[in-house]
Symmetry: C2
Subunit: 167 residues, 2 copies
């Protein structure tokens, strides 16, 4: 499938919430912005794979050896950029979504469902998902900012994205 | 040209510095992580187009109306993620580069060269580069972190990327 088909321009009838939810469901990767634990006040941007849980909230599978994981353990505040502009001749006319909030370790009985949802989206992750130094994290959204092209810019409440799950 | 040709796997003979410089020269877009001026201690990730200046340092063209621009005016600390994984069957085997540092407004006589370099890389930006609410910014790198696939991870000195220009 060509990238242009994966990332169509938002239809005029698509609401901002619908575009945002579509990006969460279709973007398999994102940029994670954390706070650099070794450089006070410095953000740190890195690449992650993401998968939606049953409510659409992004799940991450992170290595304990990675910089972003050590950053999150020191401070859970983070932001995710989901880039739906691939395939657009003019990148800045394509949709992208910023989620701001915190990332939490998935623990206890919740782990199995997270693993199932993540591996369903990223089958090859099954090879390392069980490694001792990998763990699932869930992103909890406090604010969402959608830029769906020039002049199509909206702040969204988490409820518009995740319904009853809230954030 | 297919994405796989744009982003070949780093050759075994390619050094970390060479891979990093290649990403800076070939990635036309990046994720910018800034600090959310309205949410203390919260990073904010957004999409930007980038173009290398004569020394290879990333130039940005930002709208004064954008969130990231207001964030940078409040605090210049920022990070850029350059994602060279497009076209890799397994995303996490592809190269990506984190630059950490600050972004500065390009001012005075330096503006013309920045504009020339940026428009050479992004010709359609010529339509808005001259708008009053757009301005050029240069990213100044303090640290660079390259992940060139599983287990190929390096911290690089800015001099390895930008030579005599330093950072």
């Amino acid at each position: 499938m060509a990238a242009a088909e994966v990332n169509p321009a938002p239809a005029a009838s698509e609401t901002a919430g619908e575009t945002a939810r579509r990006l969460i469901l279709t973007c398999g990767k994102a940029t994670l912005a954390t706070l650099d634990r070794n450089r006070a006040g410095m953000p740190y941007a890195s690449l992650v794979l993401i998968a939606p849980d049953a409510a659409g909230r992004p799940l991450l599978l992170l290595s304990g050896l990675a910089e972003h994981t050590a950053n999150l353990l020191a401070d859970p505040c983070a932001s995710l950029l989901l880039d739906g502009t691939e395939g657009f001749a003019e990148t800045l006319t394509g949709p992208r979504l910023t989620l701001s909030g915190t990332a939490q370790l998935v623990e206890g009985a919740d782990k199995a469902a997270a693993s199932d949802a993540y591996i369903a989206r990223h089958p090859s992750s099954s090879f390392y998902a069980g490694f001792k130094d990998f763990a699932f994290w869930r992103f909890s959204t406090e604010a969402a900012h959608l830029v769906a092209g020039f002049g199509r810019i909206d702040w969204l409440e988490p409820q518009a994205l995740f319904g009853d799950a809230g954030r």
